[in-house]
């Protein structure tokens, strides 16, 4: 096996038989958000999770990030079980605007870094790099209120990047953006992924987004969610949104939809759909 193949199959994070039930105290059954879920993320891959509304996609991200404890099962990051908190080396970007309105863009970006004891010169270097990578150089002294939704999400991504995470988890980060901005942000996310070499897990409800960005796509069932099928895209590492013109792109989205359609109908019958 070549070094490249070894790298591709090296397991970076793993969920083993993970379930998550909300509530359930005092004799009530609670709500099962995740059915028994198994997931292996390869080091350095771009993995997307797609599923119907309310299927537990965000719950999957929360337990994988260490933001929420699983009810049963085990989660490993770099071979070590999670200890009830977000492991070092894991960055999370949320769908909601998580920028700090009281800090400038630059202060937002280095917020976490300043808490780690990294020296000032290194902070300045990483800030400069993140500003350039996310196209925020001219906005370093601006406040989030002066930026568009897309720009604020870039600030949140930059804030994650300066921590140099080895795994980045994104929970529908472009969900609140318009279609064109989403495509551009997708390209920038691919650029970040290539440049950092980090493992990326993206939660999305958009078929095209998953098909365009990912090496592999996990499709979740209706609630209680679990990964019911994985699709490998076999895209080259150097890619961007123009890959949507590739004939294989249509095949991938068609395969995704053929699995997802039944699950979406189930979700609608459950009352979780549109």
């Amino acid at each position: 096996m070549s070094a490249r193949e070894t790298r591709r199959t090296d397991v970076h994070a793993e969920m083993r038989g993970v379930t998550r039930v909300y509530g359930g105290s005092g004799g009530s059954a609670g709500v099962q958000a995740l059915a028994e879920t198994n997931l292996r993320l390869r080091r350095g891959e771009f993995y997307s999770v797609i599923g119907p509304s309310g299927c537990g996609k965000s719950t999957l991200l929360d337990v994988l990030a260490g933001l929420s404890r699983p009810t049963t099962g085990e989660i490993l990051f770099e071979g070590r079980p999670l200890d009830g908190r977000v492991p070092d080396g894991v960055g999370v970007v949320f769908q909601e605007d998580a920028s700090f309105s009281w800090l400038t863009v630059a202060d937002n970006i280095v917020f976490g870094l300043r808490r780690t004891g990294v020296d000032a010169a290194e902070i300045a270097r990483r800030l400069d790099h993140a500003l350039r990578l996310m196209g925020l150089v001219d906005f370093a002294k601006a406040y989030p209120a002066q930026l568009s939704g897309g720009m604020r999400q870039r600030v949140c991504i930059a804030r994650t990047l300066v921590m140099q995470p080895r795994m980045i988890l994104l929970d529908e980060p472009f969900g609140a953006l318009d279609a064109q901005t989403r495509l551009i942000m997708g390209d920038e996310l691919l650029k970040v992924w290539r440049e950092t070499g980090a493992t990326v897990l993206l939660i999305t409800h958009a078929l095209d987004e998953a098909a365009m960005l990912s090496d592999r796509i996990g499709i979740m069932s209706a609630r209680p969610g679990r990964i019911i099928e994985e699709i490998e895209t076999r895209w080259p590492r150097e890619r961007d949104s123009r890959i949507a013109a590739n004939a294989a792109f249509g095949d991938i989205t068609a395969r995704l939809w053929s699995v997802l359609r039944d699950e979406s109908l189930k979700a609608i019958r459950q009352g979780a759909g549109p």
């Binding site: 990030a65 998580a98 700090f100 309105s101 976490g112 406040y143």
Partner: protein, 249 residues
């Protein structure tokens, strides 16, 4: 100045001019109320002569200490109560009915506890302001976007760090409301306490002037209190507006 600002100024100036006219024409007896211009002249004289300086300094010192204690204490207590929902449910009715208490009826108790000095006055000012700040902190913390609390977890922030670095600035609009109330309540508490249990300070001086039929000094000091509270509130309001505009709130 905005049109609303002009209108506001017009009403205030009109009211003062009307009172001035009523006093000057004798419609209002000088035993009841002296003309605003006389109040201003008397106040200028009091300030220039330095006769009221010690009382002003004492009252401002008492208010400042009571305010700092009620704002910092109220925030700390509010943040702690917010972290324990069951405790909050137990305490909520007391917080809601706190200001219904006839506070000054308990002044002998404060004298017993703190003695006949600044301690009892500052304690009343603090107890008057602190609950407004606790309630404002709880309201503010209730409205912090959950995503910011989750962000604190990503950075492994403990409860104190999260409260100071994320929750406090995020809840600032509500905390400002608490601070404004705490300013008002601290002034009310301190000056009212000085009326009944002090031998110096602005409250005592106003009361002393009243008891000695010295309307000039009494109204001059009352004018000073009104102007002082208005200026403090206006400065704070202006700072709040600038900050909120910058933060897009």
């Amino acid at each position: 100045m905005t049109r609303i600002g002009f209108l506001r100024l017009f009403f205030v100036a009109g009211f003062i001019l009307a009172v001035e006219a009523l006093c000057r024409t004798g419609a209002i007896s000088p035993r009841v109320l002296i003309a605003p211009s006389d109040m201003a002249v008397r106040l200028a004289w009091l300030l220039a002569s330095g006769k009221a300086n010690a009382d002003i300094a004492e009252t401002l010192g008492n208010v400042a200490i009571a305010l700092v204690l009620s704002v910092s204490g109220g925030f700390a207590i509010g943040a702690a109560i917010h972290a324990f929902p069951r405790l909050r449910r137990a305490i909520d009715p007391f917080l809601a009915s706190y200001y219904a208490l006839p506070f000054f009826a308990f002044y002998p108790l404060f004298i017993v506890l703190f003695g006949l000095g600044r301690g009892a006055i500052i304690a009343i000012g603090f107890l008057f302001g602190v609950v407004a700040m606790i309630i404002a902190t709880l309201n503010g913390f209730d409205r912090i976007p959950p995503v910011l609390v989750r962000t604190a977890a990503i950075y492994h922030m403990g409860p104190a760090a999260a409260a100071l670095r994320i929750k406090l600035p995020s809840a600032i609009p509500y905390l400002f409301t608490g601070v404004k109330l705490a300013i008002a309540y601290s002034f009310i508490g301190v000056i009212a306490a000085e009326f009944i249990m002090a031998s110096s300070g602005l409250g005592y001086s106003i009361s002393y002037a009243f008891n000695n039929f010295d309307n000039g000094t009494m109204y001059a000091l009352m004018l000073f209190v009104i102007v002082l509270v208005t200026v403090v509130n206006a400065l704070f309001y202006s700072y709040e507006r600038r900050l909120m505009r910058r933060w897009g709130r």
